[in-house]
Amino acid sequence: MGDWKTITVPALSSDSKNIFQYTSEKKMSPPSLNTQVLRLPLPSSKSMHTFFSAFCTEENIEQSISYLNRELTTLGFPSIYAESKGKELNLVSVINCMNELLVLQHKNLRAQEEVEMQHLKLGSDMDHLQNCYAKLKEQLELSKREIVGLQERDRQLQSKNRNLHQLLKNEKDEVQKLQNIISSRATQYNHDMKRKEREYNKLKERLHQLVMNKKDKKIAMDVLNYVGRADGKRGAWRTDKTEARNEEEMYKALLNDYEQRQKQLLMENAELKKVLQQMKKEIISLLPPQKQKPKERSEDGPVLSDLEEDIGELNKENMWELSCETVREQLTNSIRKQWRMLKNHVEKLDNQVSRVHSGGLNGKDVISREDHELETEKLEVEIQQCKEMIKTQQQLLQQQLMSPCDDDTTLLLQDCYLLEERERLQEEWRLFREQKKNFEKERRSFTEAAIRLGLERKAFEEDRGAWLKQQFLSMTTDYKHSENVTTPNSDQGNGLVNSTSQQRKPHCMLSVPVPAEPCQTSQCIPQN
């Protein structure tokens, strides 16, 4: 904008307004700068004309050319004259100049654009900054107000605090005052009491005097006869000896009491020491032999062994009668040490156990607690049962032993029982023998019968055979009378037949009684 001004010809100051107008127009519509520039001549072509005609008219062409030449040369352009003197224009240089001027113009326009862009940017930045500034100013105002408010509150609270402190102080002062009042009143009352008491004592004294003086016949004891002393002894005069004796007795009583107490305390002490010793021994026995940590051992070792030696010696010398500091300290220190070691040991075991549990391994040597308990329960039940059995057996035994109340009767009773039993047994034996006999008889008869039956059967078979043979022979002899060859056979057969017939007869004879015999035999048996 300013450039325009510098470029504008000072002579054309009358048109400065127009130029300002243009510049202002440019301001208003920056994007349409070029058009504006181009339009520049258009809307105000008349003004341009006047502008252009104002500079160069037909009268002052040379002047204007020379002016232009001067200007251009001052601007660094080559001269537009063809020669250094002369009035002829070098067209080339003029065109060049014009081109240069146009280029310059373009450059200037671009620069202007840029500047205007920048200007706009700066303007917007400025706006933005102004807004920010305004906001910040507002915030600042607000915070200032807040601060003022807070300060006000703080002041109020502080004043309250001060008031409360004051109140507290007042209360404390009051309390102190009241206490002072109380104590002063107490002293006052004490003093008054003492005064009254003194007065009272005086009265008492007076009264006492009166009472004593009166020698009241009434103040007397009227007793039928004096009673003997409770312990039967006679009364004694009160002398220095008796006084000394009384003192002695008093001290004796006191000393007795102290001695008793001391005895009790000694006994308690001895008990406690014994208990501590026992504890120490047990702790030592519980602890595993410390081979793993020889260093520690070596450190504690000599000390411990020394202590133990000492204590062992002292034990031998009836340690509990010595109650000196060192012995006590040694004992307690050694117990503390042992206890610490035991604690460490137990902690180690705990860790081991927890690791074992987490690892899921069951020690073979270690029986789980539940199994152990089950086992113990089972065993207990068994023991109970066995005990009961034993008890019942004992009871029975007792009964057996206890039931005979008298020896003779028991013997008799026993004999009776035995006789009865024996008789029963005999009876049974008899029966048994009878039965046995009967069974034997039966068996014999059965065997005989069986034998006979067998024989009979054999005979029967033979008979049958013979009869069949006879039949056959008869059948055959009918056919063959001539066959005497077979007569011996037949004889035999006859013989046989005869014999068989003979036999048959006896068979028949026999057979008849045969069925009867078993009946007979069976009948005989019961008769026997």
């Binding site: 008491e197 003194r198 009265l203 006492h208 009472v211 004891m221 409770a230 009384n246 009583a253």
Partner: protein
């Protein structure tokens, strides 16, 4: 449990003899001596005026009857009913009277605590002790009866005099650092004397037999202090009950507090057994109703009661003391150790219906007995840890570690037991009311 019939009584004066054979009771101006087992009247003595105090001598041969109004003390002998003895204090007046431990001297405290006159029944001698202290427990005898401690006050300062009872020789005389001595008590072993101050100052001093100060104990300042104390039978412990509703136990080795027992109104510990007396509705058997109905009227109207175990937490009935009054009814008013040294029974006057029983072996609260009425008195059986208590109605309550029982005394009419005392053998119990008394015989349990 057997109950005898009711006998007349006045002034709650019924006492067993120290040897346990007789029971002395007084009815107005008559002294009645009865046999303990049969309650038959053995002797009957008539005094000159209404008897206000009776006491057996230590050998159970004599009984003194004090009549404060007339200023007379009469002594009666059991062996010789004809023997009489009358001690007249005349214008000196009489405020208190007691036997000496040997049973042959009578100590009379004259009016205004002017002096203590020691009358001897054996000799004609009379001794005077001047400036005795006018306090509740001014005279204390050791258990074995050898020494007597007497509180004195001269020139506004307290003193203690120790006398040998056999010849009344003054053994020791020393001053005490108390503002206003309230009481003195010997330990059962006779070697330590506890001296405590007025309730305005919590201070207890322990003196040895030879007059040396062994220890001083102060629990706190300014508030009301000691209300009651009790020695344990073994002299191991000294229980101090104070107005702040706590009992503090001192031990005899260091004379320092070993524990404090609190008496709150709400009991929350589930290990404590709380027995609560509840009323049982009376069951009337209609067949037994007969004319005249008066015979059963009392049993009809008197309700039976039994003990129930209350579930913890239990809140006990509290009584707010009247402000602006002296000697307020708060704090531990009654303390007693059991004879075997195992239990301590206490009563907090704030909670007048409850008896608290503490286990001394564990130093913890053991049992609380909550009654329907306010506790009048309780006493331990002298032989075993059994506590008998009465609450002003017709029942006597017994507690032992095995349990507790409430027994209605089967009496016609109103019998409100105000006080009781055990027989020295622990087999019987005398129950005293305002006008009557009866003896309760307890069956001895086979061991």
């Amino acid at each position: 449990m057997n109950f005898s019939e009711l006998f007349r009584l006045s002034g709650l004066l019924g006492k067993f003899s120290p040897d346990g054979k007789c029971l002395a009771s007084c009815v107005q101006y008559r002294l009645v001596i009865r046999d303990v087992n049969t309650l038959q009247i053995l002797q009957l003595y008539t005094c000159l005026d209404q008897i206000q105090y009776i006491e057996w001598s230590s050998d159970s041969l004599f009984v003194l009857c004090a009549m404060y109004k007339r200023g007379i003390v009469q002594v009666w002998s059991l062996e010789q009913p004809d023997w009489h003895c009358k001690i007249d204090e005349g214008s000196a007046g009489l405020v208190a009277s007691c036997w000496s431990p040997d049973g042959r001297h009578i100590l009379n405290t004259t009016e205004f605590h002017l002096r203590i006159t020691v009358w001897s029944l054996c000799t004609k001698s009379v001794s005077y002790i001047k400036y005795p202290k006018a306090c509740q427990q001014g005279i204390a005898f050791t258990k074995d009866g050898r020494y007597m401690a007497l509180a004195e006050r001269r020139d506004c300062k307290d003193f203690i005099s120790l006398f040998v009872c056999s010849d009344w020789q003054l053994l020791r005389h020393f001053d005490t650092e108390t503002q206003d001595l309230f009481g003195i008590e010997w330990a059962p072993n006779g070697c330590v004397l506890a001296v405590w101050d007025t309730c305005l100052e919590y201070k207890i001093l322990l003196y040895s037999l030879d007059g040396r100060l062994l220890s001083t104990y102060r629990a706190y300042e300014w508030s009301l202090g000691i209300k009651s104390i009790a020695w344990s039978p073994s002299s191991q412990f000294l229980a101090i009950g104070s107005y702040d509703e706590k009992v503090r136990i001192l031990n005899h080795v260091t004379w320092k507090k070993i524990t404090e027992f609190e008496h709150p109104a709400i009991i929350t510990n589930p290990k404590i057994i709380v027995y609560k007396e509840v009323e049982k509705s009376p069951s009337v058997e209609t067949e037994r109703l007969s004319f005249p109905p008066r015979a059963l009227a009392s049993s009809l109207f008197s309700t039976q009661s039994k003990y129930d175990i209350s579930e913890v937490p239990v809140s006990l009935q509290c009584v707010k003391p009247i402000a602006d009054k002296a000697n307020p009814k708060i704090g531990i008013g009654m303390l007693a150790f059991s004879p075997d040294n195992c239990f301590l029974a206490t009563k907090n006057d704030n909670i007048p219906n409850a008896v608290w029983i503490w286990d001394i072996q564990k130093l913890k609260l053991f049992v609380v007995l909550e009654q329907l009425c306010a506790i009048q008195s309780f006493q331990w059986d002298p032989r075993q840890p059994r506590l008998a208590l009465c609450t002003g109605n017709g029942k006597v309550y017994l507690w032992s570690p095995a349990g507790c029982v409430s027994v209605q005394v089967p009496m016609e009419g109103d019998f409100q037991i105000l006080s009781l005392c055990w027989h020295s053998s622990g087999d019987s119990l005398a129950l005293l009311s305002k006008d009557n008394f009866c003896v309760c015989y307890l069956e001895r349990e086979e061991a």
